[in-house]
Symmetry: C2
Subunit: 404 residues, 2 copies
């Protein structure tokens, strides 16, 4: 399967520790071979030699838009609609408030119950901040389309479920939202750089996502936001940041939002983080999201089959259905097991890195850019040994660390 | 004067391009000798080798608090009150909304008219977002004490004026605010790492600041916030970010703020930027803010005297008074001149870097950690030549660049 993989060439662009089988690119992507040099260049040359002049000479000032456009190609967004800025948290807050302001008096925020919990926390924060009788309406993903009605100001949904890995039908939900005049806000954390996300073509209104998962932008990489061009003039971020001002260097007394996507910028952008993310996106510049999605589908399918065939009757229960077409599942799968925490720790001790999701989920992620099919085979053989040898019961794994 | 400078040893810790006289450390501080290595270590080793494990093994997870505590020493804040997170913009927004919520029904935000304009933009953004009849009351700095009354929920003021360099009397304003039950929020952008800021001792309630000026954290370094311990339990950031949750890795359905300063965290922190800032703070770990303030005072005083004595009758007009005691002025001064823009450009062509502040301000900044008195002498000699030779009138400087 590796010999037939059209993306096999990409692995050579990334540096993984020898012997490690890394199945957590869905939490933190791998480092490219040139990431260190990208960081060195910006720190030593652009900052160290250019100092303040690099805002123009090294074009730091345009980096949020330039890197946003590079990212846009991977998520089906034409130029001028994606901005790299802030954190996913802050971006969701900005866009939810913008949408609620624009949609007033509508006050319903429709949330998927299976959203990444932090997304729903932010909606709770908006409710706390605005204190004007919003309603956070939480429904299961399968009921989102039916729940979209004329009371809904904005829908916030994770494109790919952070546990099951299953994706929502973005086009169908966008279509229904448009019919009732609701805006959609998609969290692409687990699909950007992985699935063939078609924001423009599917009629998405807004989206956010982080730079450190399948985009490989490094720990805490800057996040991104997308606002469809047709909405940009009407939506205003509540964080009136100077980088979103129409004329940031005139220092006028009043805020005036920039035209276009820049109005959603906030404070001074983190230039080093942007440079590392830009380098990471260059690794995928010649790659089609269609190919990434096809490989992700093969990887998850292969892994499920291997677990079922090599570890039968071991208590590993897949969350969600076995069958999923390309695009219906993201890049990760979760199996539950009563000893999930110990299993994760025992695998890590064997240099196989999944992650643990409370209370008993063992989550395996498969980044198509650098994972090989042979890695899956070896990972499942390790899993088989851990289960057969009850390695998860080791006393070392009894006390749970704060982060796994 | 350099021979007698007790901080002269610090210059050797920073890398400045040979021959360059850098008078813009108030906009973007200089790079330490070890900044590149700090970036390399986090990118290549912690990320590249540790991958997801570094959240615990390299203690990324505690970096916002750890670096915050290191920073706190420079601004008179005991441990557990400073968090490195987000941008100054986002932090002001978070704390203004927190204060307004806590202080309801009070709805007045008292702003200094001479605040850095972006600070006041954020207050306008809060007004936009909350849409509940706030009043933004803007008064000159000299009237802040008199304007503090029982209607004021929160005061937002720049500690050091971004143009004149003059500071407000923080202790006096805090005292009056406490008498009327208003909260204070100080922007330390131009004083952290420079003045002997005594947040705890002066009774400050809240503060924010950026990492890239006198703290030398690099372009777009993460910002910080301070919340006095006595207020932490009562104040809630509206950005309910998962890193501010009491148990972020349990993924519960509802947001519950962490105890202590962590509750003001937001999304996943930018680890590379934090590492570079942490390195920069280590350069100042053995330095007293009292000594930094004393040198800053000598530098600004010396520069003003040199301009007046070496460039008399050249049209350079100092903003603000000539005399200012240590602590009454920050690290920069602004002279106005009708040809200010051209003067800045001509100086830059001579490898002397001030910055331009519209409409005709020439701003000179003096970072005490790496500026020498001889640099001031040479800078003023260049200025004398620019003025005497009317170099500012060069046609190259007619068209204004977007950033100077």
């Amino acid at each position: 399967m590796d010999a037939a993989d059209p993306l096999a060439r990409l692995r050579g662009r990334f540096s993984l520790p020898p012997g490690l089988i890394y199945l957590d690119g869905n939490s933190l992507g791998a480092r490219s071979n040139t990431a260190t040099e990208a960081a060195r260049r910006v720190v030593e040359e652009e900052w160290g030699r250019g100092l303040i002049r690099s805002w123009t000479q090294a074009d730091w000032i345009d980096a949020p838009v330039r890197v946003g456009d590079a990212l846009g190609r991977l998520i089906g967004a034409a130029e001028g609609q994606v901005l790299v800025t802030d954190s996913t948290t802050a971006n969701i807050f900005k866009l939810l408030v913008a949408a609620l302001n624009h949609q007033a008096p509508r006050g319903v925020v429709l949330l998927e119950g299976e959203n990444f919990p932090a997304d729903n926390y932010i909606a709770q924060g908006v409710e706390f901040a605005l204190a004007r009788g919003l309603e956070l309406r939480v429904v299961p993903g399968a009921q989102l389309v039916d729940a979209l009605d004329e009371s809904v100001a904005v829908l916030l949904a994770s494109h790919v479920n952070y546990r099951t890995g299953l994706s929502l039908d973005m086009a169908r939900i966008n279509r229904r939202a448009a019919e009732v005049g609701a805006l959609t806000l998609w969290d692409l954390a687990h699909s950007a750089g992985l699935l063939d996300v078609r924001l423009d073509a599917s009629g998405a209104d807004m989206a956010v996502g982080c730079g450190y998962k399948y985009l490989n932008g490094g720990p805490g990489a800057p996040a991104f936001l997308y606002v469809a061009e047709r909405h940009q003039a009407a939506l205003r971020s509540p964080l009136f940041g100077w980088m979103g001002h129409a004329r940031p260097f005139e220092f006028g007394a009043d805020y005036e939002p920039a035209p276009g996507i820049r109005r959603f910028a906030c404070g001074t952008p983190g230039v080093v983080g942007l440079a590392v993310l830009e380098d990471a996106l260059e690794q995928l510049a010649d790659v089609s999201p269609v190919d990434l999605q096809a490989k992700a589908s093969k990887l998850t399918r292969t892994f499920i089959e291997l677990v079922h065939s090599r570890c039968p009757d071991a208590g590993m229960t897949l969350l969600g259905p076995v069958e999923a077409a390309a695009g219906e599942r993201g890049g990760h799968v979760t199996f539950t097991h009563p000893e999930g925490y110990g299993i994760v720790q025992a695998l890590i001790a064997r240099e196989v890195i999944p992650d643990f999701r409370s209370p008993e989920g063992v989550r395996f992620g498969f980044a198509p850019a650098y994972l090989r099919f042979v890695d899956l085979w070896e990972a499942v053989e390790h899993l088989r040994s851990v289960l057969a040898g009850r390695e998860y019961a080791d006393a070392r794994y009894r006390e749970r660390a704060r982060v796994t």
